[in-house]
Amino acid sequence: MSTVAKTPHEIRAEPMFDVHKIRRDFPILHQQVHGKPLVYLDNAATTQKPLAVIEAISNYYRHDNSNIHRGVHTLSERATEAYEKVRAAAQKFLNAASSKEIIFVRGTTEAINLVAQTYGRKNVSSGDEVVITAMEHHSNIVPWQLLCEEKGARLRVAPINDRGELLLEEFEKLLGPKTKIVAIGHLSNALGTINPVREIVRMAHARNIPVLVDGAQAAPRMQVDVQELDCDFYALSGHKLYGPTGIGILYGKMELLETMPPWQGGGDMIASVTFEKTVYNRLPYKFEAGTPNIADTIGLGAAIEYLSTLGLEQIEQHEAGLLNYATQAVGAIPGVRLVGTAKEKAGVLSFVMDDIHPHDIGTILDSEGIAVRTGHHCAQPVMQRFNIPATARASLGLYNTRQEIDALVAGIYKVQEVMG
């Protein structure tokens, strides 16, 4: 992670992170579920949206809705400007070198598929290898399996230890002349592990292998600087970033994006079309075929602005304090075992309970108003690695409080009581 130098006027004197004030920005949080105050601890699945995001989308449809990059009329101009402003905001958010390196996609899954189907199909051949890790989400496994199947290439999987940490030496051993791309998660959704991306990139680049980073869970939890990480691709989802569903970002280094063939064909991605020949549009439009998800892009822009105002470092600190508190409190309950205990960890507390299936944990916690995810978290190989069918997962967001962790702890005792 990078630390961004702050000029003196940016250093604030007021309380750094007033979570109770922040909670007022999220209308959905103020409701009762089964007669209890909602405790939303499923932020790794999706985050709630601040009013700023909800209103940005609503205002766009009320006042500015129009197609972009086309008409000369006023609404189209406004819509285009609002849409492209988000690209500039995203560039700043990720510290990309150019806004042309920001491609709007549906989400992390689409971003990874785009890279697999363009960069991958062009550069991976029979006998080549793609390297991932044992803690990946299905969305960073299956696109590569599809590619490997098509090309007769091989998917190699770097192992993890019992704490859920990547074995870096084993990872490095997998890199060789046949490796055509490395794809790794920045922060594991099932275990909370933060991978040493900078180190991984250094190892891969020493062998001229590009690296894609699945940043779905990291982007809402820490300051991401793609130039500092030096990764070649970075994928993220708007809805995990307190923005809307159906919009995400693929960052790619310009020199790589330039050499990649287009993915989907259609309007907006072309410069000129005749039946004999089509000239593709320049970056980033080459990868944005068809009318994009304009409203949700604008919603994402509002989310980025919201997070930037709060400050990613403050959010990171707040969540680190909460995770530490939750780890101690939940870890101390007899009959509860934490899954994923990496030294470098954020946002995610996966656990199992003696003789109680996670599904039952989820139902009973829900009856207490507590929303957690139960199941394999789209990471079945992780469950296999730990030899468990599923876990219960509490995942933190910037609006969670210690009182909510206390409610979770009380809820877990309730689970034990009900299940006898």
């Binding site: 109680i356 299936h357 996670p358 599904h359 009856s367 139960t374 394999h376 069918p389 009900v418």
Partner: protein, 148 residues
């Protein structure tokens, strides 16, 4: 809370902890797997069918309390029943857990304890997983059946 107690009744918890007929059936002439990819529940149901009747039945696998208790009580209920009767019981059971039954399942005997599932729509798949596997076994579907 009362809904929760209704769901996790003593009988259900007891069966989930000590499932009956929890064994691989050596004499099985029908078997099928049931799998819920959303939660990872996974059961195999074994049947010994003679002259159109279930002369023996067993199951193994892993799952939540609801799915395991349902599988256990299913095996108890169906032993000795004809396949036609089993079909009828499943149909009534399905109506019960999905809240479509006219009564509160009195005619289902012990299985009536699953009436509480109807208040938890997300748990219907848990309660019916083993039953779907049973049907797959009876009708010779070799592939693991999936709730999704």
């Amino acid at each position: 809370m009362s809904e929760l107690r209704e769901l996790y009744q003593e009988v259900i918890l007891e069966h989930s902890k000590k499932p009956r007929n929890y064994r691989v059936l050596e004499t099985a002439n029908h078997k099928a797997e049931g799998f819920n990819p959303l939660c990872g529940d996974h059961f195999t149901v074994y049947l010994d069918v003679k002259d159109g009747a279930i002369s023996d039945i067993g199951f193994q696998g892993s799952g939540c309390a609801i799915s395991k208790a349902s599988a256990s009580m299913m095996t108890q209920t169906l032993k000795g029943k004809t396949t036609g009767e089993a079909e009828g019981i499943f149909s009534k059971f399905h109506d019960l857990v999905t809240g479509q039954a006219a009564g509160s399942g009195e005619d289902l005997g012990k299985l009536a304890v699953f009436a509480g599932v109807s208040e938890f729509p997300l748990r219907v798949k848990c309660a019916t997983l083993a039953w779907h596997a049973l049907r797959a076994a009876l009708y010779g579907e070799e592939q693991a059946i999936s709730t999704e």
